[in-house]
Point group: C2
């Protein structure tokens, strides 16, 4: 028996703090268990009552004559603590603490929560909560509704984890309105013991769960362990799709940051990274969470992007087409054989090309023949069926036909049966057979798009890692030297030296203190050169007119030196000007930006990739991962930005050296794993050349700071 | 009496084709009128029946003893035609033709539809349909459900126009599930007579309609008239907000087009332009249409973007914050006075800064005091209230408090009462008082965002037009010359000459046939020069390596000439090479693209604006308007692209000469209005200089073609 079975499928439950007073939590939860057909035995515990809702009540859990699997605690913290000690004595296997007033209020609440944690850990008892809504298991063998919510959801194959109690009731109501079925439903509150990862593992092993939905507020604990474990769950033949909605999208980036990466890499970007690496599908709204989970729950995967649309009305067909394209799918091109066959079943006025219009007077047969024909076309990866109620429409018969065909095909079928009342019998048949069905065609199409995206994760290419060697020793010497000098912000020369240790190409350069030195350096490294201000107070050199490009002779070097120093003084009077960097001018390449930002807490470093310049600054077209990453994550983060085609031959551009970027990202990841003292790092730009010709750092800024000393509130 | 009153509020109705057979349209519509409390008198007409559903039936409408306001026709086309002739004789004021089989099937159906149109026009009778779902007026004075749908929607202040019959049932069911009320609801089908514009005008004058929702498939008729009339409706003190969902977003752009503009300006971009000019709010989904219409129906406008959020749960507050920012709004900064006052009402553990957390145990009072305080803060433009059902929550009392405060404030309040069952009494109070309320906080926030966008349209700046003069005569001479030579594609020199007539700055340039001529031209106009291939077969010169920049001496001109011609030959063997253009090299400026694409049918020319290069090609960051436009539309189309900050001082960039772009857009508009023969035009790039320094055409391509000869299917 899994330790969480006592939570989800207990044979007996004691409700400590059960109450006869309607409206009290202790009443409602007890009543909800009692009145929703729980198949086990239920014991109320309350020293002040003889019976509750006609059920014999006990003074203490220790008085209950039978064994108790699960104790539900609805008591204030202090009372809860002593009750839990009795639960341990009783030998319960699981505890759910509904009440609030623990860690979330701090002080004594926090202390008591920690005591409870310890006691239960010692006794090998799993604890859910405190400060949660409870647990629901609609399976007929258990039929447990140990929650605030009076409504028991339908039974299905999707399990839910919610951190927020506030949202649970709404979600359950929303689900009931949609006829949406759950396998298991839990609210985890403060996560004193049981957390998302425990539940994901449990659901993954649970044969009654085919999809997991998470409503997440904040991950705690070891992020890397979470990613690694969840990646196993969402990958491979025996995978379980996980979809999540995470609150806090824009709470990020509030803190001031010196680097571009720092200003873009807020807490939300961290979750984008975590979800991307773990294979969790991130949804933007509760609607999406439901729509997409329903699509995944059909257990079929969309292995290509070619969709056939079958409709009995033009308008909805167009809407579906739009959303199909918007969702990254394509309309399948039907084979001549398919079209020829369709002519046998459809009237001449039908549209035989995708979207296939079977015409308003289509009864069940026309749908059945059309779907059977297109779904066996090798050029079709999945189908979208739209039914609008018209005079000849047979929603029930059509649904039955779809179910029959779906049983014999591996290709997913998404349906939009429009109209709630007329088509409801058909909708129920589809739902009962796990065929996703939506009231509007755009939702049905978007859900197929999500399924395709999820399938691409499943079928992702996994390439062997690069064999790279790094000079960690020299990097350590460099960093130690800067630290011993109290230097927190490394200039371009210092930054480049450090990057070289991790496989980056850099440009010949040196810092000049005066015009003469500048000329000497330029003559040594050869023209043309670029000159840049060096001052720890001036991070964005261009803003200070502190950069001069394409300098081709001695006189220009001298005048550039003077102008740069003058501009810098005007830009920031108090800036300490350490000199002017003279650098070999790099040949033109595609500008990309690589960055690092250390996250507060246990999240480690975020790595960022994007196209340089305005694409980062204005369009924020960037992707994130958490270090460490290997080749495959580097590869996917490059491919996931919108501007990726610019590196991949868009409109006759040369193919950029993507492998060089990948290796540099892996190098960067190794650098920050080896030296967590790196707080921020911007390589902006990295100039990327044609395939096989590498990439060169054209500017870099690095900030060092001990972790913990600069916890940024995000 | 308005002519459409007979459709929406008839005193008496005859149903021609009424039937006793359940499931037949003639039965269902008659039954729906009869059984939904219609307050007028209802007459069935059917020569084969004595009575229908117990109501005395007539052989012909002419046999009805009383006057008839509205005739509903449910008869096949031929029979319908003679029935309508009798309706005319009877003196009906309005006709709704439900049946299909008319224009949409072509042939005889089309002929009959046209005959009906003519007969009714002659008789001054308004016709709705054919091929439609009918009409609904839930107002208690009328209580008319003359539709297929058995469900009568609730009464409200939002009116609906649907072109698609297929969607109506779904929309009505969806509305019923949400408790959404309608003022009037109509399906217009083939639009033989009554169309969107007629209804918009009618609804605008209807005191019972505060918001109009449209489900549009395709506009017919005079687009410019539509825009001008609707602009009046959506503007000013007496405006009516209009929200639309238009199917066919991606059906566009399928046709091959030579210009960038042509490839981006599909039928969908035309509707973006029409909606933008007319002030119609375009929604992306039925959900948005309902959510946003509900927000507008409160009749308040959000005049600034500073929103205060009041919540009794942290998680939903964060979600609302996210969506608030995403929707273009900001969290209001509360004044010290407000915060001080909040301290009087809220416990110390509350969050006194936006989003304001009144804590889970907040009853009605805390909500009331908090809302009253923040809504009177001058720094707050609107409020968002989130209520999650917790033990002390008083949904009904809180709703009543919100209603009371809303009555005394001009600032909009959007609510999310989470949980359908627990909070339903409160939700009904809010709905009855036209306070928008949503199940999820993200919807409430997005709706406020829509309200703000709509208010910005209402408060838009209207500047006096530029006084520009154009040399239409010379332009005509140039175009006539090209046409007489059979030239359809103008090269850069020819295009620039034409643009000059409409106020564009162009560069000195000439076409060289050989190396010597090239040198002569270069010497004459002065170095540096740019050289470009001139060939009607090579439209994208860079793709053919047909452009050389920054040529500074005679020898380079000669070698550039050779290389350009050689590359062009290699790129396209059959290309006719007319020479090489030698052009003064323009100083660097911001690159933007201005374009024109002539639409098929009556839609005229689409004008496009965007940032040049990759921003157009990959990010498709462009905006459209239909010609003619004046200064204000030009201004708004520049400001509506995502990259606009690049022209407006983003990160220390110089302010670009926006007025120059505006004037050029107005010039372009005049050019295509004067010469509709212009089919496509790309100015790519227009180089824009600093404010006051103008803009210069750096490349242009123009295609001439008689309208009608090249109807592109989009």
């Amino acid at each position: 028996m899994d330790s969480l079975d006592a939570i989800f499928s207990p044979k007996s439950i004691a409700v400590l703090g059960a109450s006869s007073t309607k409206g009290k939590v202790g009443h409602d939860i007890f009543a909800n268990i009692l009145q929703n057909g729980y198949t086990g035995t239920l014991f109320p515990v309350n020293p002040g009552a003889n019976s509750i809702l006609s059920v014999k009540c006990y003074n203490s859990i220790l008085d209950i004559p039978d064994p108790v699997d699960l104790a539900m605690i609805i008591l204030p913290p202090k009372v809860a603590l002593s009750a839990i000690k009795e639960c341990v004595k009783k030998g319960v296997k699981g505890i759910i603490i509904i009440s609030a007033g623990f860690k979330e209020v701090g002080g004594e609440g926090l202390i008591i929560e920690n005591q409870i944690k310890e006691i239960c850990k010692e006794a090998n008892i799993r604890v859910v909560g405190p400060n949660c809504l409870g647990v629901i298991n609609p399976s007929p063998e258990v039929s447990l509704n140990a929650s605030f919510s009076a409504r028991m959801p339908a039974h299905g194959n999707i399990s839910f984890i919610s951190q927020s109690g506030a949202l649970c009731t709404t979600v359950l109501d929303f689900a009931a309105d949609r006829g949406f079925g759950f396998s298991k439903f839990i609210s985890i509150g403060n996560k004193a013991d049981v957390d998302e990862l425990d539940l994901l593992k449990y659901y993954h092993n649970d044969s009654a769960t085919d999809v997991v939905m998470i409503y997440m507020e904040e991950l705690q604990g070891d992020t890397k362990e979470f990613i690694e474990e969840v990646k196993q769950i969402t990958s491979g033949d025996n995978h379980t799709p996980v979809l999540a909605i995470k609150s806090g999208r824009s709470a990020a980036g509030a803190a001031a940051a010196a680097s571009h990466t720092g200003s873009l890499a807020g807490s939300d970007a961290v979750y984008d990274a975590i979800f991307a690496e773990a294979g969790i599908y991130r949804c933007e709204s509760v609607n999406q969470l439901f729509d997409y989970s329903e699509a995944f729950s059909c257990k079929k995967r969309l292995h290509g992007n070619r969709v056939a649309i079958v409709t009995n009305a033009g308008g909805p067909g167009i809407i579906a087409t739009d959303m199909t394209i918007t969702s990254g799918l394509e309309l399948a091109k039907l084979s001549p054989k398919t079209i020829e066959e369709l002519h046998r079943y459809l009237p001449a006025t039908a549209n035989f090309h995708n979207p296939i219009d079977v015409i308003g007077d289509a009864a069940k047969d026309r749908y059945e023949n059309t779907l059977a024909t297109v779904i066996s076309d090798d050029g079709v990866d999945g189908a979208l069926i739209i039914l609008t109620p018209q005079s000849m429409t047979d929603a029930l018969g059509t649904a039955e036909a779809i179910v029959k065909i779906a049983k014999h095909s591996q290709k997913p079928i998404s349906c939009s049966f429009m109209g709630v009342v007329d088509v409801s019998k058909g909708v129920r048949i589809l739902q009962a057979n796990k065929i996703p069905v939506y009231p509007f065609p755009e939702n049905a199409a978007a859900a197929l798009g999500a399924l395709y995206k999820g399938t691409r994760w499943l079928n992702r290419k996994i390439l062997p890692q690069y064999q790279l060697t790094f000079d960690r020793e020299r990097a350590k010497q460099l960093i130690d030297k800067h630290l011993s000098e109290g230097k927190e912000i490394l200039d371009e020369l210092e930054g480049s030296e450090l990057l070289k240790c991790y496989g980056f190409n850099t440009l010949p350069m040196d810092v000049a203190k005066n015009e003469k030195e500048a000329v000497d350096i330029a003559e040594k490294i050869g023209y043309p050169v670029v000159m840049k201000i060096v001052s720890p107070q001036i991070l964005h050199k261009s803003d200070a007119n502190g950069v001069k490009m394409n300098i081709t002779d001695q006189m220009s070097v001298e005048s550039a030196f003077r102008e740069i120093v003058k501009s810098a003084r005007e830009y920031k009077k108090e800036a300490v000007i350490e000199g002017v960097l003279v650098q070999k001018m790099a040949p033109k390449g595609e500008e990309v930006i690589l960055g690092v930002n250390r996250n507060p807490g246990q999240m480690g470093h975020s790595l960022m990739f994007g196209l340089g310049g305005i694409f980062v600054e204005l369009f924020k077209d960037v992707s994130f991962r958490l270090a460490p990453i290997g080749r495959n994550n580097a590869r996917r983060m490059i491919r996931s930005i919108k501007g990726y085609p610019m590196l991949n031959g868009f409109r006759g551009r040369p193919l950029a050296d993507l492998e060089a970027i990948e290796k540099n990202l892996v190098g960067l990841s190794n650098l920050v794993i080896d030296f967590p003292i790196i707080k921020e790092l911007d390589i902006n730009p990295l100039l990327v050349y044609k395939k096989g010709e590498g990439a060169t750092v054209a500017d870099v800024m690095i900030t060092l700071k001990e972790p913990g000393t600069t916890l940024v509130t995000v």
